[in-house]
């Protein structure tokens, strides 16, 4: 890691606490109040906005650097994930833990894919809309959308849903955070298990 990246990383990490502090101040004072306030609160708003914009730019730069620079990735992510490879035995276990984590994550992703694709609905329709005299309806479907469809179909107003599953119940941000946490936890648990065995 060169000096420039080290400086950038430190500024980014310390800036993170500053950004959190700003978020608390903005939340406490209210964004509109801050914009219309007289100095020095207005100055805080202006400086805070600039700092936040810089921090966002740094986030993008560092994220891209993590993807494209192998040495930077190794230096930063090995600290975040508590990766230990001090000798050949730890390297062997690390490889086994990485393999187990990869397989587990793949299995979880398959499960999440099926959850996001399958559609299951159980609902009742009014007697005049009954099918063969039956008012209870079960519909099954598979929806494989590669792009987000913003125009959702209008719901049938006459049906009374009993159970309906159409998509993952969590947001994409929560899902990404969950997968990051899963990867780190799985790797470290595997390392601990191999370590105890040996």
């Amino acid at each position: 890691m060169n000096k420039f990246d080290r400086f950038f990383l430190k500024t980014y990490l310390y800036g993170f606490f500053f950004v959190i502090g700003l978020g608390i101040v903005f939340n406490y004072c209210g964004l509109d109040d801050m914009r219309n306030a007289v100095s020095p609160l207005r100055q805080v708003n202006n400086v805070g906005g600039f700092v936040f914009a810089s921090w966002m730019l740094m986030t993008m730069y560092l994220s891209l650097k993590l993807i494209f620079s192998g040495s930077f990735r190794d230096a930063v992510l090995s600290r975040i994930t508590f990766l230990k490879e001090r000798d050949e035995r730890e390297k062997l276990f690390s490889g086994q833990a990485a393999k187990t984590t990869f397989m587990l994550t793949l299995a979880v992703l398959f499960f999440l894919l099926s959850l996001s694709c399958f559609e299951v609905s159980v609902y009742r329709v009014p007697p005049e809309k009954a099918i063969n005299g039956k008012t209870g309806v079960l519909t099954l479907g598979v929806r494989l959308e590669l792009l987000k469809d913003r125009s959702a179909p209008a719901p049938e107003t006459f049906r009374r849903d009993i159970f309906s599953h159409t998509d993952l119940p969590i947001s994409s941000t929560a899902l990404i955070l969950l997968l990051i946490g899963w990867q780190i936890a799985s790797y470290n648990l595997c390392m601990r298990r191999f370590g105890i065995r040996s």
Binding site: R86, D87, E88, R89, E90, G195, R197, S198
Partner: protein, 76 residues
């Protein structure tokens, strides 16, 4: 077709040689460039070292690899 051999258990005399030289696991680990946990694992026969580490250990004890590591057939 050759008969598949029984389970080959790799044994070692690392703890004997270490005791003769009166050195600690920590010292040996430092000398051959591994962690103490690895020395413990090798002595406990839970881990078979790489060829490179086996040669490094043999060189440190001024012996050859075969006298440091040997095979016992059919035992674990």
């Amino acid at each position: 077709m050759a008969k598949t051999p029984a389970h080959l258990a790799i044994k070692n005399r690392l703890n004997v040689l270490r005791a003769e030289r009166r050195i600690t696991q920590e010292q040996l680990a430092k000398e051959v460039g591994v962690t103490r946990a690895t020395i413990i694992a090798i002595e406990g026969e839970d881990y078979n070292p790489s060829l490179e580490l086996a040669f490094r250990l043999a060189r440190y004890f001024d012996t050859d690899v075969q006298s440091l590591f040997f095979i016992k057939e059919g035992t674990k």
